[in-house]
């Protein structure tokens, strides 16, 4: 019987032999921390509350047969109205099920993962059945193909000419869009804000649509986001002026692109809405291998598009990263799963820019493990200092990851806050934050969230060594 010792960070180790992984010598908490996810984290994967509830019902042993696990996957067969085969990939918890459900992950997937979280001993370590092995192999094939594609794209002269022609046409269209926007904004200032409250949504929408036609969707989005401002809050004139002003700076910068530093030019183009090809990012120079903690995640909805925003923090590199994934409808999956409160080893490739935050995951190694504290936790004053610094390099930065330590939630009628020991505080987003208050119990906790300069959106927290998700899709 061969045995291998696999060291863990805290000087303990784990013994691996033919029967699987043995956690002798670890306390129950350490054992749990190494592998299992909380029910909460798994339920957060569900696309809607009905799936979560259905998945919970299936998280019991009696609905499953032939449960098993290997180093790279876990699987089972569920007896529903037919026999469904469900499998999950360990590295990223992707789930594939043979049921006809259009939801992703389906309730069988959620049930399987929940069962693994509560009763891992129910999964015997056995050889992968064919339907599991072939799926896993196909997945690694596809990602290998993706990498190969990233490396091997060769262009013919015709390709290059066509591309340049398209490019030039786009630049012209954008130029026209910028001019139109400049006139539009100048008119608003000339006439004054006073009449804006009575203008209907078409006032902004017509101009935004023109910008979309001009192939500058980023600018369209900026306009759409201010459309609701007039009359919405008591300080709306100042807020509107700030946003229109920052947009004006962007337009000016866009007129002088070639005068700008290359990284700032990149940022401006991205803000206008020019996309950067994923392959070129993956091949790019800014690649960082590290242990990445998933700080938190939420889904933003804009014009029928759902954007999943996932914030990461790298342990050794101290880099912060934002992963964006898109989906057109709730039943269309986001591609890859990043579970808040876990950490994985991997290589991230950053998009170019003066203060790089957006990244893509080039490769992941091994299984994710659960975290017991948030990395890079800082004070409120630190957060403000770092945000200021980031703004200095990218003036159009609008959101920044915050990881606060020693914070106590303070409920208040109008606006909740998160207060540090010295009384420095940040306002939280509107609404009530009962889960945060409950899990803190008035004691200081670690909170991860997204800061937009005005309010913090809480995404997750750590209390007593356990991570809890704070943001969820359904507002219960």
């Amino acid at each position: 019987m061969t045995r291998t010792k696999v060291p863990l960070e805290n000087d303990k180790h784990v013994v691996l032999d033919e029967t699987g992984v043995s956690f002798r010598g670890l306390s129950p908490l350490e054992r749990e921390a190494h592998l299992n996810l909380t029910q909460e984290q798994i339920l957060a994967l569900a696309p809607d509350p009905a799936s979560a509830a259905a998945g919970r019902k299936l998280g019991v042993q009696k609905t499953w047969n032939n449960l098993g696990k290997s180093e790279r996957a876990l699987w089972g067969e569920c007896q529903g109205s037919a026999l469904y085969q469900t499998r999950s990939d360990f590295t990223n918890l992707a789930v594939k099920c043979s049921c006809p459900s259009r939801k992703f992950p389906c309730k069988h997937g959620i049930g399987l993962l929940l069962l693994f979280a509560s009763s891992p001993q129910a999964f015997a370590s056995t050889a992968e059945p064919e339907w599991v092995a072939s799926w896993i192999s196909k997945r690694s094939e596809t990602s290998a193909k993706k990498e190969a594609k990233a490396v091997e794209k060769v262009e013919t002269p015709e390709d290059i000419a066509a591309r340049e022609k398209r490019s030039a046409r786009r630049e012209r269209r954008v130029e026209e869009g910028l001019e139109g926007l400049q006139l539009f904004l100048s008119d608003i200032i000339r006439n004054g804000f006073a009449g804006l409250e009575t203008k209907g949504p078409s006032f902004w929408e017509v101009q935004a649509a023109r910008l979309v036609d001009a192939q500058a969707p980023g600018l369209a989005r900026r306009l759409r986001s201010v459309a609701d401002l007039p009359g919405s809050r008591s300080d709306w004139p100042r807020k509107l002026l700030d946003e229109l002003g920052r947009t004006a700076l962007l337009v000016s910068a866009a007129h002088r692109l070639d005068d700008l530093e290359p990284v700032l030019k990149e940022e401006v183009r991205q803000q206008l809405g020019f996309t950067v090809a994923q392959e070129s990012v993956l091949r790019g120079p800014d690649a960082v291998q590290d242990h990445w903690t998933v700080l938190g995640q939420w889904i933003e909805e804009y014009e029928r598009l759902r954007t999943q925003r996932t914030w990461l923090a790298g342990e050794k590199s101290q880099r912060l990263a934002l992963l964006l994934q898109f989906s057109a409808a709730p039943n269309i999956p986001f591609g890859e799963s990043f579970i808040p409160g876990t950490r994985f080893e991997g290589i991230l490739s950053f998009f170019p820019g003066p203060y790089p935050l957006r990244a893509l995951v080039r490769e992941r190694f091994g299984e994710p493990s659960r975290i017991q504290h948030l990395p890079r936790a800082q004070s409120v004053a630190d957060l403000f200092a770092r945000f200021g610094n980031a703004l200095a390099q990218n003036p159009w930065l609008d959101r920044y990851p915050a990881v606060l330590t020693g914070a106590v939630p303070v409920p208040a009628e109008g606006r909740w806050c998160l207060a540090a020991r010295d009384g420095a505080a940040v306002p939280l987003t509107a609404g009530e934050h009962w889960k945060l208050l409950t899990l803190s119990g008035g004691h200081p906790v670690e909170v991860a969230g997204e800061w937009n300069g005005e309010a913090l959106l809480p995404l997750g927290m750590v209390a007593e060594g356990r991570y809890h998700i704070l943001w969820s899709q359904d507002p219960t």
Binding site: Q39, E40, A53, R56, G59, V60, S118, Q182, L185, S186, D187, I189, R190, N191, G192, F193, A194, P237, R238, L241, D242, E243, L244, G245, R246, T247, A248, L249, S252, V380, A381, F384, F387, G388, L391, A392, P395, V408, V410, P411, C417, A419, G423, A424, A425, V426, P427, W434, K435, L437, T438, L439, G441, G442, H443, G453, H468, T476
Partner: protein, 529 residues
């Protein structure tokens, strides 16, 4: 508001200023180009926005409440918490009392993650039971949300009377006064009565009736004078209330008058009690009753609460007979007729007035809380050979029956299975769960007989179906295996008949609840000590 903002609101056309300042150092970086005033102003505004954003300072806030104290109880396992969540989200909510009881038996608490849901979704009836399971943190959380105030565990001290009680009595809102009166009646009943006496001349009729009703608690002869006066009140509601209360005081003048009427209206027949002879001996006594309700009544009857005009469709003599009987304690008949309740009921059944007499006796048993009569009346209903719809007062009546008596009759009903009568089956909800192993087994056996009857399209007493869901919640966990052996279900076509449809519905519910309770039991069993 800085200058730039003011101008933006008004518009540069109207403002006409040459060099509006943002109040920040960016003004030096961005001069206003006169030919492009608006555009320059916008850029200055944008740059100053970034400036302010980058230089913002945190607000200052001091947490003003103390943190939660440490927990004294250990937390319950995750599996149980998952089931609790389902129940609070209305799935199998009926099992909630059992789950809480099992958790409390372990002196455990619910996990923190469940608390917001528990505090919001616990039904009012369950709040007292849930309170100890909240732990310190649950009670701490209650202070932050008005809807959670129930959790803080502070009960209103109902015994203490405030110092300024008299003032509160004079000035409070109607509901406050009622509550105060009830509290006072519990502490110093004479003072409460004096309050009502003083208030009477000034109050509206509705209030007078309400206050009189409160005096129903701790009623004594000292209240008689007030109540007798109230018999002459202008409002009929007040008069009715006074008459009802006086009937409860055996020494009151009204009660004496009513008893006299009762003895006159129903008495032994001239033949009285015929000696049992021959076959009659085995069928019990042959008590003979005569009812003689009057042809007309006078004002004293009306004053004592008996209406002159009967309700629609009821004959006046039958009405008056029932009214008088319902207003005297049923044990009066045992003395005046020298018979047992069972004998009296049986004899009443042989007269032409049996409906009025038996309904009157039932109402009297309820009014005077007479347990032995409640048992006899119930037995009488059970023994009916021709089934009639269940009297709507039966449920109230059963509350007066002692538990051992209920058990006896329900056990007999189980033995009768498909032949059990509806009134007997009506006793089921009154047996508290969890049922003993033996009783549970008997129930399942009886239900199997009902199953066979339904499957063979025989007639089954519908009240059986009403017991099934209740039984699912109370069966002892030891009988789960046998109770979960699959039950007969009707085929597609048969589903549309009423009986089989009902059977399918209740037996599915039964099975669902049992499965859920089984999961709960499994989680409790695997809970390490």
């Amino acid at each position: 508001m800085n200058r730039i903002e003011q101008i933006a609101i008004v518009g540069t056309d109207k403002a006409g200023e040459a060099d509006p300042g943002s109040g920040t150092p960016v003004d030096a970086l961005l001069p206003i180009a006169p030919e492009e005033k608006e555009w320059s102003l916008l850029q200055r505004a944008g740059a100053s926005a970034v400036y302010r954003l980058a230089g913002a300072r945190p607000i200052q806030v001091a947490p003003s409440t103390a943190p939660t104290p440490s927990e004294t109880r250990s937390v319950c396992p995750a599996g149980i918490s998952l089931l609790m969540r389902s129940m609070l989200q209305k799935e199998h909510a009926e099992v909630l009392p059992e789950a809480c009881r099992l958790i409390e038996e372990r002196t455990s608490r619910l996990p923190f993650t469940l608390l917001p849901l528990v505090l919001t979704a616990t039904p009012e009836a369950m709040r007292n039971t849930m309170q100890p399971l909240l732990g310190e943190r649950g009670r701490w959380l209650a202070q932050f949300n008005r809807d959670w105030a129930w959790a803080s565990g502070q009960t209103e001290d109902s015994a203490s009377i405030p110092q300024n009680a008299d003032a509160l009595w004079d000035e409070g809102s109607p509901s406050e006064r009622r509550q105060l009166l009830a509290r006072m009646r519990g502490t110093d009943s004479a003072r409460a009565r004096r309050w009502v006496e003083q208030a009477f001349p000034k109050e509206k009729a509705e209030q007078r009736a309400v206050f009189l009703a409160v005096l129903g608690t701790g009623l004594s002869m000292e209240d008689e004078a007030l109540l007798e006066k109230a018999l002459d009140d202008r409002s009929s509601a007040v008069r009715e209330e006074a008459a009802a209360l006086l009937a409860l005081l055996p020494e009151s003048r009204l009660a004496v008058r009513m008893r006299d009427r009762a003895r006159a209206i129903l008495h032994l027949a001239p033949e009285g009690r015929a000696p049992a002879k021959g076959k009659a001996a085995s069928s019990g006594s042959s008590l003979s009753l005569n009812a003689e309700p009057p042809e007309g009544i006078d004002k004293t009857w009306e004053r004592d609460g008996i209406a002159a005009k009967p309700p629609q469709g009821v004959g006046k003599r039958a009405f008056w007979l029932e009214e008088v009987i319902s207003r005297v304690p049923p044990d009066l008949w045992e003395a005046s007729l020298e018979a047992t309740p069972d004998e009296i009921l049986e004899a009443a059944g042989k007269t032409e007035w049996k409906g009025s007499i038996q309904d009157g006796l039932m109402r009297a048993a309820l009014l005077f809380h007479d347990s032995p009569w409640a048992v006899s009346i119930w037995d009488n209903e059970i023994a009916r050979t021709k089934p009639i719809p269940l009297p709507h007062r039966l449920e109230e009546l059963l509350r007066l029956v002692p538990l051992p008596e209920i058990e006896k009759r329900v056990t007999r009903a189980l033995q009768d299975a498909t032949r059990a009568s509806a009134p007997a089956l009506a006793g089921f909800p009154f047996l508290p769960g969890p049922w003993s192993l033996q009783f549970s087994r008997r129930y399942v056996e009886a239900l199997r007989k009902v199953e066979t009857a339904v499957a063979q399209k025989e007639k089954v007493e519908e009240t059986w179906f009403g017991t099934v869901e209740d039984a699912a919640l109370k069966l002892s966990p030891s009988v789960f295996p046998e109770a979960l052996i699959p039950w007969w279900e009707p085929s597609e076509e048969a589903r549309y008949q009423h009986t089989t449809h009902e059977w399918k519905r209740v037996i599915n519910r039964f099975t669902e609840i049992l499965r859920f309770r089984q999961e709960l039991a499994k989680e409790i069993d695997s809970w390490p000590i």
